[in-house]
Symmetry: C3
Subunit: 368 residues, 3 copies
Amino acid sequence: MTFGAISALACTLLPFVPLGASAQSSVQLYGVVDMGVSSYKGDGAGSRQMVTSGGNQASRLGFRGREDLGDGLVAGFDMESGINADTGTGQLSNTNNQASGNSGGGGLTFNRKSFIYLQSKQWGELRLGRDYTPAFWNTFLFDPFRVGVGASTHVLHGTTVTGFRASNSVGYFSPGCSGPSCPGFFYQGMAAFGENGAGPDRQDGNLYGLRVGYGGTNWNAAAAVTTTRNRIADDYTSMNIAASYLWNGHRFMALAAENRTGNRLAAVGNANRVRYWQLGAEWKVGNDSIPMSFMRLTRNDGASSSSQKYAVGYVHNLSKRTAIYGTYAYVDNRGKLNLPVASGAVNGPIPTAGGNASGFDIGMRHSF
Amino acid sequence: MTFGAISALACTLLPFVPLGASAQSSVQLYGVVDMGVSSYKGDGAGSRQMVTSGGNQASRLGFRGREDLGDGLVAGFDMESGINADTGTGQLSNTNNQASGNSGGGGLTFNRKSFIYLQSKQWGELRLGRDYTPAFWNTFLFDPFRVGVGASTHVLHGTTVTGFRASNSVGYFSPGCSGPSCPGFFYQGMAAFGENGAGPDRQDGNLYGLRVGYGGTNWNAAAAVTTTRNRIADDYTSMNIAASYLWNGHRFMALAAENRTGNRLAAVGNANRVRYWQLGAEWKVGNDSIPMSFMRLTRNDGASSSSQKYAVGYVHNLSKRTAIYGTYAYVDNRGKLNLPVASGAVNGPIPTAGGNASGFDIGMRHSF
Amino acid sequence: MTFGAISALACTLLPFVPLGASAQSSVQLYGVVDMGVSSYKGDGAGSRQMVTSGGNQASRLGFRGREDLGDGLVAGFDMESGINADTGTGQLSNTNNQASGNSGGGGLTFNRKSFIYLQSKQWGELRLGRDYTPAFWNTFLFDPFRVGVGASTHVLHGTTVTGFRASNSVGYFSPGCSGPSCPGFFYQGMAAFGENGAGPDRQDGNLYGLRVGYGGTNWNAAAAVTTTRNRIADDYTSMNIAASYLWNGHRFMALAAENRTGNRLAAVGNANRVRYWQLGAEWKVGNDSIPMSFMRLTRNDGASSSSQKYAVGYVHNLSKRTAIYGTYAYVDNRGKLNLPVASGAVNGPIPTAGGNASGFDIGMRHSF
């Protein structure tokens, strides 16, 4: 491809030169708006009725583009903003992978994704910016609910800054597989910077993660680990292994995971190790779907603490882009544990230790 | 319509499945940029010269889409961000319909609209999210200025969190009429959640509203009431009745309204009831328009307090999308009242009690 | 052009009238995503490794549109949001051209541009809103790096609220030249409001600027001055003169500038005058480019303080829209000066007084 010497400067303001490059704009606007009515309760904490965002898929607005550079090379980007659609507010991002870096103030941010990539058929993909951590993927992909009151595994990362995503990251994906899963053997790695200056906490916010997987015709499996350095709040490590099987269009899945910190457990109180496993299924009924799951969690807090979560839902697809859905979930806490039925942007009341929690979402999802 | 079993999961990241649905993106980007130069003064408070945003129409950027689902069903959404175009900053939204829930920090939010809807020709429309309250509509629609220095009625809601919009709302619109007005008899209702947990303020931020109207060939009329529960700041109720008449392209309108609180009056100081009425007209001159209005307000604060506002403007349309405009307004306060000439995002200096205020906007509006 | 009397109200919600105008939407979405890996160090302050945004061009997302009104008249707007792409956060804008008006909280804002304009072939262009100051343009346009670790001149405005842009501004551009440079003689002026009410600081945040230039076939030259009133933090004045010469596609440039405050110097410590000059070049190698620059700065702080910055880079264009790049820079501080090697959104460690600093960016830029 031949182009003028001035082209390196396209899309910035320059003397003498018209803005050529940006005239050939190529960006895709996409998103999801998902809202519902919910009621959540927790023993000893009463109940809350509310309008919630993201009961079936997280509400979002995104901008993405890609350019074929020839020779099997592709460049592109994705910037995706999480939206609390029930209130029109944005979600916090984080600048340094530490609690001190939470940023956004309720305004829109590209908290969900903000990365640029260079993809090669031969060498794989290099990604820079804010992206999902390797360990997050399994707890999301092998949960039939993923978000909303039915989600069980990934809610455990709730209050951990790097539980879902990391900023300032450098990521690598094996050739032919830049998504979370692909046919055959695939792997991905991530390193992210806390970007502290000199001092004893210099390493805080640094993150390292690895994920390997295999995608077959019906079987799919993956294992991952991600660890974040944090001298102040203690290192946080999340590891898991999961598999799914597709049978007559129905999907069955299983996951085992462990979250560990030096002397505390993010999102689940004062102990240094939580283990959990989950069984899930997505049963198809025509164009509709019945997600269901069971999750059991134990914590080494010396009180035989455990939680069990049961969830079932129904998703009725009005079209490829629009669905209505309902989900019910119940959490049985024992010992010192007090998991609410829903977490994140749609918090449920937190029960007293050992108390139970339950709730439902009834809503509508539209993607564009 | 038939589609594969996997379609329920379109637009989220999934193993094995390409992102099909979001390739058929269908979202409309729209907005208004409106700015002008303004000078406002208030007795005892001097004058301010400034560049203002939204003198003729509020500056905004929005994203909306809709999908025809067949059988008279339509799904869609609208997310609209208010913009202080003079500074590039965003506007606060609110998460719980209480002052404690103001959120945004100057970043962009979808404070103006953030809702999803399901519309049926037979049953009407159901809407979830953040939207205008029923009582707001009349004070907006029957004011020939609506925004800027000339607006008089809706400025009275200025500091009340739910004066214009409510978050966490469930709305209903009668069949065939999802806009603010339609031919024939129409009605709408709204309930919104404060989403507080257990406690004495549990009901705070809950809102209920109703609006009924009739649209004829030349006549148009509507009445509305909206009330917000608030144990801390006292309940806030806004009610009004209005009508307009179209004659040879000119529009004449009248409105009577009352705002009430337990023991205070949002935006107008310490008293529990404000009553006001307004007469307005939009006189057409070719493609141009001359808006004018007179508003009189009284307050039961034991001091014979009243305010009268006079406003006149000129809007010269350069095209269907672009106009230049000028507006002048004068406020005559009596007793303890001290209304500024402009409020909201373009505050004028607040005069001393009983002092007068005046000001003008000269600007340009462009919609896209 | 003839259109109905109701058209003045298009794009706002109205009784009886469908939303006609906004169906003919005409807005362009554009932007840049630019990220890299950087390492910066400063004597006595250690080093930092990080992922940075905007090493070659500032990461941004913008919305712009224009409408031909006939008779040589054009109306349009541009709203552009700066993005810290490495973290997905937005950048602060400012509401009053004073430090007290910083606004955004990490959410997205239209901090880079937020203006509306009316352009006439005969009379020139009038612009309202937030825009670059006249003096900024030269320090940007005549620096071969402009952003990233190699940029030297414009970093001096770093912490000054109006160093780059002003809110609440009224701008004027000479006929035929609304960009930063044009063939022949051109000029631009700006006045911006601090919008304070009565009081001793009433003038604070008021800004005035002027820029004149000449664009020839190979020669290009411009001079500019901008001053901001500030009783509290002292007036800030920035003035400069610059020229560039294009020879066989290579561009050579020179700039001399002075920044002055009453008793302090924004971004460079306690003294009231900084002078600097810069020599730069963009050497073309096929489609690639080698930017290089030398900058020398002195400050009247009674300690013979000076800084010299050396920078060199390489930009390899993969297409008109995508490039990979590397930049190295070194700062030699003397006396009391302690300039870091990079500033703004990608801060480098600040060396001790008289200490040196250095660093590099290796990254990728994609525009859309």
